[in-house]
Amino acid sequence: MQPETAVVKVSAGAQPAAAEADTKMLINGVSVYYKAFRAIKEIDLPVYENRVTAFIGPSGCGKSTLLRSLNRMNDLIPGARLEGEVLLDGENIYAPGQDVVDIRRRVGMVFQRPNPFPMSVYDNVAFGLRLLGLRKKSVMDEIVERSLRAAALWEHVKDNLGQSGMALSGGQQQRLCIARAIAVEPEVILMDEPTSALDPVATLTIEDLIQTLKEKFTIVIVTHNMQQAARVSDFTAFLSMDDDRAGYLVEYGPTMELFTNPRKKLTEDYITGRFG
């Protein structure tokens, strides 16, 4: 006789709002080719609104490629080609007639190495605003301040907005890049290993920032650091590489579930550090 068991899913309580989130982006059977080489194959994933979605996986599994397909940054690489569709609010961003400039405005990006432009802190943040055609100085000032505040950088730079962005410390540079990205009020922010070039303290600052940013934005983050994925994300997608070196999705789910009780052996081996 089998005893009665009451099964309680471990993470169900940890992410109460996860299930209630709307789908912001939908990756639908996406494969990306670089010339003849298939970098990622047939990936299906949702990206929920106002949630942090993390992509993890071993080097070369295509997580950056997948991330870059979300704002068509792969378009910049000669010979890159995408199959499938990426929906943003239900619309395929790869459909003919879609304006790539507009997509990148709606889906902003923060890069692995902090890349402030060689200009002042103010001009860095104003860069995207000027691109939009904003001319009014008073409005510009206000948005620059607001963005720097949101990126937790205002207190450090408010007395010297004219200093070069490149004169800041690494962590501050990355926050400047975040301020620059959010100034144009994107809907989604892609972060490609945003702390891999930073020291541990700056890393934690950025991680905290991500937690406050998700109230306003939808965030997708690629990280090598599994602890970081566990700390900052609500959902995690684990990608791995096939024999033909094409990246594919192994497992996707609420982060707490994936990190305490993964369904796939491969995920378990990867996150416990026994493979990859």
């Binding site: 704002n71 890349n115 860069f127 200093q163 990205a181």
Partner: protein, 314 residues
């Protein structure tokens, strides 16, 4: 598997001694090489300063040449000629070179890019006298007269590959993320190149441009066939005469470029061969001025870069 320690089989003391000796020998060798490289440089500098320095005077910069054999006079014509032709060459070559470099950066693997790279390399390797001949055939012969314009054009051709390839290298050093950062904000490609990548590569590009200008300033051979030389070249005179005849600015500018002109190295070359002592002395003075010029450009460029770096990196 041997259980004995590696130290049972080596003589550490003699090994260390040998290494120290070898190190000392190699270090002295490199020091010697530096000396060999520096000695001629210092020698030339000191020689030119001694030989030419004493003939430097105000007239040298302010006067046109005195008649053959007569003392006094200066090389104003050559200074102005060099200035006019190098300015023309820079105005033509630098934007072209930068545009070319940007093209190579944006589309590095097209056949046009390969062609561009190949032809600039060829051009950089072409003796400047050949380029002068080309200028002679294509401009001087067609226009039926020598001119500062023809000189400026050939100097531009000489500058172009130097600036282009160095600019390309410098642009390549700008992290790709910088350009992508701008593109990710919805920046069009030309805008990202101009507003972000170019400023980021500015230091190196300025150095390349300076090298190009220095190269153009020092050229003699191609000017023989194009600018020819002109003892009476004086911008002030052209401008004054233009104003007197109520000529338009364009017309006056045309005059400046239409005349044959002299240049510092050209003057040096001509004066040095003349039997008059005053001319030979002035040749040394010109050599000194050319050296000062090179030094000046260098100091200017470095000061600017140092200022920029301080501004950018605090």
């Amino acid at each position: 598997m041997p259980t004995e320690s590696v130290y049972a089989h080596v003589n550490l003391e003699s090994n260390y001694r040998r290494r120290k000796i070898l190190n000392a020998v190699m270090l002295s060798l490199t020091g010697l090489t530096v000396l060999v490289a520096v000695v001629p440089l210092v020698w030339i500098t000191v020689y030119v300063v001694i030989k030419g320095g004493k003939y430097i005077n105000w007239a040298l910069f302010a006067r046109l040449p005195a008649p053959m054999g007569a003392p006094g006079g200066g090389v104003l014509h050559a200074i102005e000629g060099t200035a006019v032709m190098v300015t023309l060459a820079s105005v033509i070559a630098i934007p072209l070179a930068l545009l070319g470099a940007f093209y190579l950066l944006a589309r590095p693997n097209t056949s046009l890019a390969h062609g561009l790279r190949f032809s600039t390399d060829m051009l950089a390797g072409t003796p400047s006298i050949v380029i002068g001949l080309f200028g002679y055939a294509v401009i001087v012969v067609v226009q039926k007269h020598f001119s500062a314009f023809a000189g400026g054009i050939v100097l531009a051709i000489i500058m172009l590959p130097v600036v282009l390839r160095s600019a390309e290298e410098m642009l390549k050093l700008v992290p790709a993320e910088m350009r992508e950062g701008a593109l990710a904000l919805g920046s069009p490609e030309w805008h990202a190149a101009l507003k972000v990548v170019l400023p980021a590569a500015m230091e190196g590009i300025v150095t390349g441009v300076m090298l190009g200008i220095a190269r153009a300033v020092g050229e003699t051979a191609p000017l023989l066939f194009t600018a020819l030389g002109n003892d009476n070249y004086e911008i002030g005179k052209i401008v004054r005469s233009g104003i007197r005849h109520h000529q338009s600015v364009g017309k006056i500018l045309g005059q400046i470029f239409a005349q044959p002109a002299d240049a510092l190295p050209l003057t040096l070359w001509k004066y040095a061969q003349q039997p008059y002592q005053e001319r030979v002395q002035q040749a040394w003075a010109v050599a000194f001025v050319l050296m000062l010029f090179a030094l000046g450009i260098n100091i200017l460029a470095r000061a600017r870069l140092a200022y920029r770096r301080r501004k950018l990196y605090g």
